[in-house]
Amino acid sequence: MDNATILIIDDELHIRQFLRAAFEFEGFAVQEAHNAEEGIRSATLKPPDLIILDLGLPDRDGSSILERLRSWSNVPIIVLTVRAREREKVRLLELGADDYVVKPFGIGELIARARAALRPRVAAASDPVVRIGPLEINLATRSGTIDGKRLVLGPKEYLVLQILAQHAGKVVTRQQIMKQVWGASHLDDTHYLRIVVRNLRKKIEIDPTRPRILLTELGVGYRLAR
């Protein structure tokens, strides 16, 4: 995995420089593009394993680049965005971004997100178990354990946990979960999800009010820690 190629699309030279250094230190190969057009061209000519896309590009709106990339490619995309624009973050995730990192960020955070995004999206048939700290979820037998003890989960609770486990380490928007668990007609009833999350936390967290496994991304969705 560490021979993976990362495509960095950013108009700021300095940001490209430190990103290149960081990913090369970690053993990745790096391609750079300084605007959207070049980025799309680069992604077409030499498809990367992961794209890091800065949303503040001068030549094109971030969402239109995402849409264009997603029209033909499934490559994981992490967007770099600024704080206090949760609605935009949700929109970008729904347009197909895999995750986002808020600027300014420490490099450790971005690398961790990149590794999570590079993990295969579908668990291998040989190892259907997702492990997060003391939590184990077996996607094949649809069951889970915490500290080795069997978890008793309601159907909705299991479904929510399964979706998060399939994206372990990555943010999943509330709407994505709502659509899969309750169906498209209940997209606005997000308090259902909050109740299920509260119940889940009581079962898997040491202190449900200070969660360490099932984390909230305020205004966006949930993330299973990795």
Binding site: A22, N199, P208, T209, G219
Partner: protein, 501 residues
């Protein structure tokens, strides 16, 4: 006519049936019933017909000789014309009552429409909002498809303000010609669009100039009918124009234009400033963390702590930029909310987790009960408000002291609180704490800050329908800040969260 006769016939049959069992007297009076019904439902002419028919029916069926219109009894001879007279007068009264009721109802609708219209105008932010309001108002009172063209400033092509695709070319040309003919030309014209439909095209003008050009779809009607509709349209438009004058539409339009331009400028400025200030921060923090984690440097605690210093400073600068942006946003546009049902603990955790390093020197105690009600708020803004208060608690209390973040239910509210063991509040600090740019004198020299934080916190809490207050027992006795949020529970069917449905 037929309906009146049917009413009289029904009455007659009913009377004849009753007559089998009781010997009826004064049957003529009963015939007032169909007259009143005809008057209120059908109008005065049917009422008169019912009156005459009723008189005839009494003479024919009930006054001897029966089954003849002849009347023998002289008393009946007087009674019959008297009945017809009374019936007609009653009918007339009933009709005019009905007309008045109708009129009142229509007035009420019109006034209601007018209120709705002026409310929309007052809330309009762009000229387009205003034009749409005018068009829809006219369309609703005239009851026909209406299209409004904006009168453009000289040299700029006018724009149609509704589904232009449906406007026939001939009509479009006529509207453009009229718009170009200039101010106050005041002429209306009738245009045929080649598909058999007739359109009335006329300017909407006031003293201050033309508001626009209006095209109204008159449909297939030609000749006299079209003339009638046109007169009605003119009458309504005369009213509407007077009202538009009254509402000072011209000024409203230009105000709206200026407003939207100013807002666009401010947005652009805020966006650019934030971009300019933040971009270097991204590179500084990124490069510093790369250096400290580079192979060869990894595990060197001195480098790691230098990177931490950079991280803290960058966070602080970044927060200051955010404060400025928030402050600009609050004073220019007001706060825009994105509310949802929120787990209170999530907001507290977000505020605390983002400040882990700032709080590292303090003992942090988070005390949140398991079963707090959800609150309906904008979680991000509330998190920022709480974060500001936590920032202050950390800044104005000594290292090693305790900061307690709590949450509890209190009657119909959820109360989040931040308590510290810091310098507390004295004198004017108690009252001026929430003012913009206010900073207490005691901490000002040793603690950095913009004086915006608590002001922003208060604005965000109030925008979320909450209250915020600070309490202190005095100098060095600590401060307790509480945020009180209305608690309501969303309706949740049990099956929705437990079942497999």
């Amino acid at each position: 006519m037929l309906k009146s006769l049917v009413l009289v016939a029904i009455t007659t049959v009913a009377l004849l049936t009753l007559d089998q069992f009781f010997a009826l007297r004064h049957v003529t009076l009963v015939y007032l019933v169909p007259v009143v019904i005809a008057a209120t439902k059908l109008g005065i002419i049917p009422a008169v017909i019912a009156a005459v028919a009723g008189g005839g029916a009494s003479a024919f069926f009930f006054y001897p000789p029966i089954y003849s219109f002849l009347v023998e009894d002289p008393q009946h001879l007087i009674e019959l014309p008297l009945f017809v007279f009374v019936a007609i007068v009653t009918g007339h009264l009933a009709t005019s009552l009905r007309r008045q009721a109708d009129l009142a109802r229509r007035r009420e609708t019109e006034v209601h429409d007018l209120y709705a219209f002026s409310r929309r105008l007052a809330a309009a932010h762009t000229p387009n909002d205003i034009y749409t309001a005018i068009r829809e108002h006219l369309a609703s009172i005239i009851g026909r498809r209406t299209i409004l063209f904006e009168t453009a400033p000289p040299g700029v092509p006018g724009a149609a303000l509704s589904d232009e695709g449906q406007v026939p070319d001939a009509v479009k040309r006529a509207m453009e010609a009229l718009a170009e003919a200039g101010k106050g030309s005041g002429n209306s014209s009738v245009v045929e669009d080649g598909e058999g439909r007739v359109w009335l095209v006329r300017p909407v003008s006031g003293k201050a100039g033309d508001f626009g050009v209006l095209a109204i779809d008159l449909g297939q009607q030609k000749g006299k009918m079209a003339g009638v509709i046109r007169e009605r349209v003119d009458a309504v438009l005369a009213d509407a124009t007077a009202m538009l004058e009254h509402l000072d539409l011209g000024r409203a339009l230009s105000d709206a234009r200026v407003r939207s331009e100013t807002e666009a400028l401010r947005d652009a400025l805020i966006g650019s400033v934030s971009h300019q200030l933040r971009t270097p921060l991204v590179s500084i923090l990124g490069a510093a963390t790369v250096i400290s984690s580079a192979p060869g440097n990894r595990g060197d605690p001195r480098l790691a702590s230098l990177a931490d210093i950079l991280r803290d400073e960058v966070d602080r600068l970044n927060n200051d930029v955010q404060d400025l942006l928030d402050a600009a946003l609050i004073s220019s546009k007001g706060v825009r909310l994105d509310c949802e049902w929120v787990e209170p603990a999530d907001v507290v955790n977000a505020a605390v987790d983002r400040r882990q390093r700032l709080l590292a020197g303090h003992h942090l105690r988070v005390d949140i009960p398991d079963e707090l009600p959800f609150v309906y708020v904008d979680p991000v803004l509330l998190g920022q408000a709480l974060g500001q208060i936590v920032d202050n608690a950390a800044k104005y209390s000594p290292p090693g002291s305790q900061i307690t973040i709590g949450a509890k239910t209190e009657s119909d509210a959820v109360v989040l609180s931040v308590g510290d063991e810091g310098i507390g509040l004295v004198g004017e600090e108690q009252t001026r704490l929430w003012e913009r740019f206010f900073r207490g004198q005691r901490g000002a020299s040793s603690v950095s800050g913009s004086g915006l934080g608590l002001w922003i916190a208060k604005a965000f809490v109030i925008a979320n329908g909450g209250q915020i207050e600070a309490f202190s027992e005095g100098a060095d006795r600590g401060t307790l800040v509480s945020i009180r949020l209305p608690a309501r529970e969303p309706a949740t069917p049990d099956l929705a969260v437990s079942g497999d449905g």
